[in-house]
């Protein structure tokens, strides 16, 4: 076992793939094993923390132990004197040059965007905010030196609760007050919908604060070569980061190269312009040497932007037969202490999703963004859409309970029917395709719905201490964050197009360059499949380059399930342009008109003859350029961008059965079925893997995870010992299936899948728990539904029964 690997791994993998999969079929749709795996499995990875440069120094940050305080004194001179320490700086030392971290989504006219210095200068506003830094020869020396920094604070009151923050006389997080913005959206006559409504459901749900917890802690390596800078960062957004770093630091954009090497997961948490990225860059400039920062997990839990954190007040008016008349949503969204890159936009992404797959006459959405003395929130897997789906799917169950209807039936009566697509919803989105009936019927059959309902009734009748609960969640999401025109209407500070580039090399092999920046999604494999089909070349002849602004020179990066839907299509478009160019060349070489050529299996053939040129031969001809037709440039390559006209709308039905021990409050997931419709599938293995992971994250919100602050604003869940991520022992195997309604907004018919599982699973699990306990008078359990919360709900529910 201890013999050293000699480097034959990639070849071995390719052989194994050939054995198992039939040749000659289309690549798109084929369950290809991943090209990415070999290096990840053998430890030949380029995580940012693995990178080193000659003379590199280690940066560490001193972080505020106070939620809110004035910095009255800071002295770093003690740190500077310690062995191995090269420099130490306070926020005050950097006040003039550090700029302000950007917020790119001013969602309303009244928005307050406070100055956000990367290192606090005079006031701290959350525990973990950087106040000083040391730069030393290694991490142990740097850690020692942090202890020698002398800093004094004058405590100010912490503001943790959103309602308290908005109350008159509340301590102010920022001088302008604690309201960040307010937004109101109306569609239809909401008053009429509620007037004399036979049924009104009125509920308040808490979307607890979550810590995204990508397995790779963040790391930054900044290097300088005189006036030019290269920054490697565990980021999802190298292209956006480059622009933003240039704006914040004043380093000209063309002198700044950003590399996202191997990135160990993101889930939105690396969709950010961080204080550490800015500061490492400034330190590299100041010291003229490469510097690296790697966060510890406890540092990360404090300072990676958090997710969710909303109070949702939802009112739903319905007819006696279950048909929805109107929906009113009023949100408080916790911004934390500052607005980061897209913080205010997150609750707004949910605004058009609360109405979900249901038809209704009127809709009203209001949202207030609130500053508190906590770590800022921002995008976390699904970003606004899981919150919205949770709210509506919980309320639909409450409606069913009120009407004593089956929760699936109440959904059936309200959803958009298969033959009604394209359908413009009450919130103004046009869903292009979908089939909620098919996905639901399939899920119910796989789940064995009727049998489980029978078992549930039996357990209830017997008074079994372990009750069975069944939860349903029928969801849609708004995927492929792209249409630049629509993003412009939402006042988002960037477009949503994506770039692809295809280069046929002289030997006939293919390099694809993508503007998306994968961190576990398998783009290299999927994009290879797309290019192989489009060009008619072997899958193994394609390589995919990404994540370096010097190579992938244009792009809008990876988030919001946009990579395949936008980036994959840009690659397809670039392949088509390459083929168009190859056709002109082939016609010239074969002395025929381009219209006489047919393209099949990677070759242009003169119709009705055996005369042909393969695309590889044409690539060589374009490289030698000995005989090119007029107007055709050397080399067979092309660029393309794709900017779809509409979002895409994957949907599906998830069903969860839980066993709830009424004596201990313990919840066990007994079975979980997910039928998702993500349109056409490029690689079923990858789709399945993404759904698995998403479901696990959504279940984790329902059952395990919560960022908890104490009354003074100290984060109590700073480590993985306190913040409970589910392990293999905590989760069941999930049963998956798919239906397929191709998207009409892109030529492949793909819809995106990265967030589906997370969006659907949280309400499915909580609906199941409440379903198990409803006979005990319980109509809600606050997330995460820990044994203690469930047990307490049971005690309260029992008391309520006595009172009645």
């Amino acid at each position: 076992m201890s013999e050293i690997d000699t480097g034959m791994v990639a070849e071995q993998i390719e052989q194994s793939d050939q054995i198992n999969e039939p040749a000659g079929t289309s690549e798109v749709g084929r369950p290809r094993r991943r090209k990415e795996d070999a290096r990840l499995l053998t430890g030949r990875t380029q995580w940012t923390d693995n990178l080193s440069r000659p003379g590199m120094l280690q940066v560490m940050f001193l972080r505020s132990p106070m939620a809110h305080a004035r910095i009255t004194r800071v002295d770093v001179s003690g740190a500077r004197e310690l062995p191995g320490v090269v420099a130490a700086f306070s926020g005050q030392d950097f006040a003039a040059e550090q700029g302000s971290l950007p917020c790119a989504w001013p969602v309303s006219e009244d928005i307050v965007i406070p100055d956000h210095p990367p290192m606090a200068v005079s006031e701290v506003r959350y525990v973990g905010e950087a106040v000083a830094c040391v730069i030393a020869t290694d991490r142990y020396r740097a850690a020692d030196a942090l202890e020698a920094i002398d800093i004094e604070y004058e405590p100010l009151p912490a503001v943790l609760d959103m309602n308290e923050a908005l109350a008159d006389g509340s301590p102010k997080v920022h001088e302008a007050g604690n309201k960040a913005f307010s937004v109101k959206i109306n569609s239809g006559d909401i008053d009429a919908a509620f007037r004399d409504a036979p049924v009104v459901i009125d509920r308040t749900y808490i979307q607890q604060r979550l810590i995204p917890s990508a397995m790779e802690p963040r790391a930054v390596l900044a290097d300088t070569d005189g006036d030019a800078f290269t920054i490697s960062s565990s980021t999802q957004i190298p292209h956006v980061l480059r622009v933003m770093l240039a704006v914040v630091t004043g380093i000209p954009e063309h002198k700044l190269r950003v590399i996202a090497p191997d990135v160990g997961g993101g889930f939105g948490s690396k969709l950010q312009v961080t204080a550490e990225e800015v500061l490492c860059l400034l330190l590299a400039r100041k010291l003229g040497r490469p510097v690296k920062w790697t966060e510890s997990r406890s540092e990360g839990n404090l300072t990676v932007h958090h997710g969710r954190d909303q109070i949702q007040h939802i009112r739903l008016a319905a007819e006696a037969d279950g048909r929805i008349r109107g929906l009113q949503v009023d949100l408080l969204a916790d911004m934390g202490a500052y607005l980061m890159l897209v913080t205010p936009g997150i609750p707004l992404l949910g605004a058009s999703m609360f109405n979900a797959i249901y038809k209704m006459d009127a809709y009203e959405f209001g949202c207030t963004g609130v500053f508190t003395t906590k770590m800022p929130t921002d995008a976390y897997r699904g970003a606004g859409r899981p919150e919205a789906t949770f709210g509506i799917e919980r309320v639909m169950d409450e409606l069913a309970a009120e009407l004593k209807m089956d929760p699936v039936e109440v959904r059936r009566r309200n959803w958009i029917k298969h033959d009604e697509f394209p359908y413009t919803t009450i919130s103004g989105l046009t869903y292009d395709s979908g089939n909620y009936e098919a996905a639901t019927d399939r899920a119910l059959a796989l789940f064995g719905y009727d049998k489980l309902r029978a078992e549930q009734a039996d357990r209830r009748d017997r008074g079994d201490p372990v009750q069975l609960g069944i939860g349903v969640s029928t969801y849609t999401e708004m995927c492929g964050l792209a249409p630049s025109r629509m993003l412009g209407e939402a006042n988002y500070g960037a477009g949503g197009w994506e770039h692809g580039s295809v280069r046929m090399l002289p030997t006939g092999k293919v390099e694809v360059i993508t503007g998306t920046s994968p961190h576990g999604q398998g783009h290299v494999t999927s994009w290879s499949q797309i290019a192989a089909d489009a060009l008619g070349v072997p899958f193994d002849d394609v390589t995919v380059l990404h994540g370096d602004t010097a190579i992938a020179h244009k792009g809008m990066d990876t988030y919001g399930s946009r990579s395949l839907v936008v980036g994959g299509i840009a690659v397809l478009k670039a392949c088509e342009k390459v083929k168009d160019k190859a056709r002109k060349l082939a016609a010239h070489v074969l002395e025929c008109s381009p219209e006489d050529l047919e393209y099949a299996a990677g070759a242009f053939k003169v119709r009705g003859t055996d005369t042909q040129k393969t695309i590889q031969e044409l690539a060589y001809a374009a490289f030698t350029a000995h005989d090119l037709p007029e107007g055709v440039e050397a080399r067979l390559d092309s660029d393309a961008t794709f900017d779809p006209e509409n979002y895409s709308f994957p949907h599906g039905t998830h069903l969860c059965a839980v066993e709830v021990d009424t004596e201990t409050g313990m919840v066990k997931i007994r079975s979980y079925v997910a039928v998702d419709d993500v349109g056409k599938v490029v690689n079923p293995l990858i789709v399945e893997g993404q759904v698995h992971g998403g479901i696990a994250q959504g279940i984790a919100q329902a059952l395990f995870e919560e960022a908890v602050y104490d009354a003074e604003g100290n984060l109590l869940t700073t480590t993985m010992a306190d913040y409970l991520l589910p392990s293999a022992a905590d989760l069941p195997a999930f049963q998956l299936d798919r239906t397929e309604s191709p998207a009409t907004s892109n030529p492949l018919g793909v819809k995106g899948v990265g967030e589906a599982g997370t969006i659907a699973s949280t309400p499915a699990v909580v609906n199941a728990i409440v379903d198990a306990l409803r006979p005990r008078g319980i109509h809600d359990v606050r997330m995460p539904c820990t044994p203690e919360r469930v047990w307490r709900a049971l005690q309260d529910g029992a008391l309520e029964g006595v009172r009645r």
Binding site: S2, T719, A728, F734
Partner: protein, 160 residues
């Protein structure tokens, strides 16, 4: 400063180490063995799992001095004559990794799990991997991979 001798992936090293130096930092920063990543600082995530004298340990919770005289095998030392270890292959074949950050530790833990239970049930695999966290896969395919790896390793043992 104590001097230790440690064999890592078949190569013997002699190093002067601070008593507080963690094994994972010795491997990563002194010996260039960056295949073993660090995911937490409380030994909860298992990303840094390596074999120490044949048993899996979380190398962030072992001091370098404790490895004195020991044999360490990292993910970079698995596999024989250029082929991947059956467990690595099984992870590839079952699509049991996405970002791959937890994968080296997961593979190491899986191999150690089979040392004690060569034919584990799904339940035993899930319990056995409790100390290794993955944020991408939801564990479904990891469980399948460990089962497949177990079959392949069993075959390797029984084939003459």
């Amino acid at each position: 400063m104590p001097r230790i001798t440690v064999t890592v992936d078949g190569i013997k090293y002699e190093e002067d180490v601070e008593p507080r130096l963690l094994l994972v930092h010795l491997l990563r920063e002194r010996l260039g063995k960056t295949g073993t990543p660090v995911g937490c600082d409380t030994s909860n995530c298992g990303a840094c799992t390596v074999m120490l004298d044949g048993t899996s340990v979380k190398s962030c919770s072992v001091l370098a001095v404790q490895a004195d005289g020991c044999e360490v095998v990292t993910i970079e030392g698995l596999g024989v004559n250029g082929s991947m270890h059956p467990m690595q292959r099984a992870f590839h074949e079952e699509h049991a990794l996405q970002c791959g950050y937890c994968t080296p530790g997961m593979v190491m833990a899986a191999i150690d799990l089979l040392r004690e239970d060569p034919e584990p049930s799904e339940e035993a695999i899930r319990q056995g991997l409790e100390g290794n966290l993955c944020r991408c896969t939801g564990y479904c395919n990891i469980v399948k991979a460990v089962r497949r790896g177990a079959q392949e390793m069993g075959r390797a043992v029984t084939t003459p």
